[in-house]
Amino acid sequence: MRLTKFEHLEPKSLVEACAILAEHGDKARIIAGGTDILVRMKQRLVEPQFVVDIKRIDGIAEIKSDGAELRIGALVALSDVQKSAAVREQAPALAEAAAAVGATQLQNMGTIGGNICLETRCWYYNQTYTWRQGREACLKAGGSICYMAKASKRCYALYSGDTAPALLALGARVRLVSASGERTIGLEELFVDDGKKPTILNPGELIAEVIVPVAANGQRSTYLKFRRREAIDFPIVGVAAALGEENGVCSKAAIAVTGVGSAPFVAKDSENALLGKKVSQETIAEAAEAAFKQAKPVSDMEVSPAYRKRLVRVLVKDALTKVAGLA
């Protein structure tokens, strides 16, 4: 599978990168680890004229900790995320999520910024150009039909990133930069439940940094991933949970789920089921039930929506049980 022709640009600074992106608009695509974009380029799902390699930009490939926040540059490789002592101590869910991505080589290549921006996926969309000639283009490919939900007006491609739910549960923010300036938003605000365009990133805007608040005393977190195989696979369901307890009651609960919709979702009802209560098998079961109710998976070739919903309940229960130390 050959890539089609493009021009390869290597900005040395964020300012330069943003200027290039602003100039070329939709004709340009960012490449960092390349593990997602190059596959889609080989499949000719995107055929950029300009590939903007941001790997030579200084200052966004480090992990810094000032005691209150972990600042993880967008270019930090997933393998460095999982090896970082600071991440393992302060944000174990993130270390676990990074270690659960694809396979070792992909973790060595893939970056945290790229993993957050992982494009949504679908059985009918992630196919080669030739394969797709067999049928009318789907919504995500510019057509007007969703093969997963034929009556649908929207695209149901699935979000399958592993690190985003961990970061959501940890309350992370992202610093976005573009030619018109920069903004820092809660990660939850980045995502929209639309398979066609799953983030609010403006054209020419990129993630420069991920900011993770350091866990309060006694707060623990984890990420659990259910997949067919022990490696390579995207999650069928992934659940991250962070839990804090003070004076015997739950002072912090954050649960986020991936693999279920076009965006990762925060299970607010689950959190409410725990906050202020004693963390026990019973309250965990209630939280899991709440997540089960909140999850609205669509059909997929691999598993039915009903099964995926059940998995959400099991994984939320397992994740909470683990962080609560009740296993």
Partner: protein, 155 residues
């Protein structure tokens, strides 16, 4: 637009003319003749094209050749010293870890990246390191044995 770049493969610097859309896998195999690096899935799913860049196992099918400029690239061809096999290669041979051989170069390099960093890995660590290397012939048992044996020997 074609560009002249320098690729350092197994310590030898090659000057090559490439177009930016060429993957490292294509340039290694087709331009430089390092055909030991195998093309199997060509889309990042199988690990057959694994090479080591700056000490880390990566997929050459998802690496642009222009981006490998100035880095240390290790391929299967650089492992043996003269006629003497690298201990990992020797262990693959002795333990029966090779059958059709198509996944072997990628697996040997995944193993090398692991053992260079962690000479005495646990079986679980070996499994994680080669989780992205598919093999249909062996059921992986003898591959695990070989990598463990190579690790022990290095110590």
């Amino acid at each position: 637009m074609k560009r002249i770049i320098e690729l350092n493969v197994n310590g030898v610097v090659h000057e090559v003319v490439v177009e930016p859309q060429r993957t490292l896998l294509e340039v290694l195999r087709e331009t430089l003749g390092y055909t030991g690096t195998k093309k199997a899935c060509d889309s990042g799913d199988c690990g057959a094209c694994t090479v080591i860049i700056d000490g880390r196992a990566v997929l050459s099918c998802l690496t642009l050749a222009v981006e490998a400029q100035g880095k240390n690239i290790e391929t299967i061809e650089g492992m043996a010293t003269g006629d003497r096999l690298h201990p990992i290669q020797q262990a693959f041979l002795d333990k029966g870890a090779i059958q059709c051989g198509y996944c072997t170069p990628g697996l040997v390099l995944s193993a090398k990246a692991l053992l260079d960093e962690n000479p005495k890995p646990s079986r679980e660590e070996v499994k994680k390191a080669i989780g992205g290397n598919l093999c249909r012939c062996t059921g992986y048992v003898k591959i695990l044995d070989a990598i463990e044996a190579a690790g022990e020997q290095a110590n």
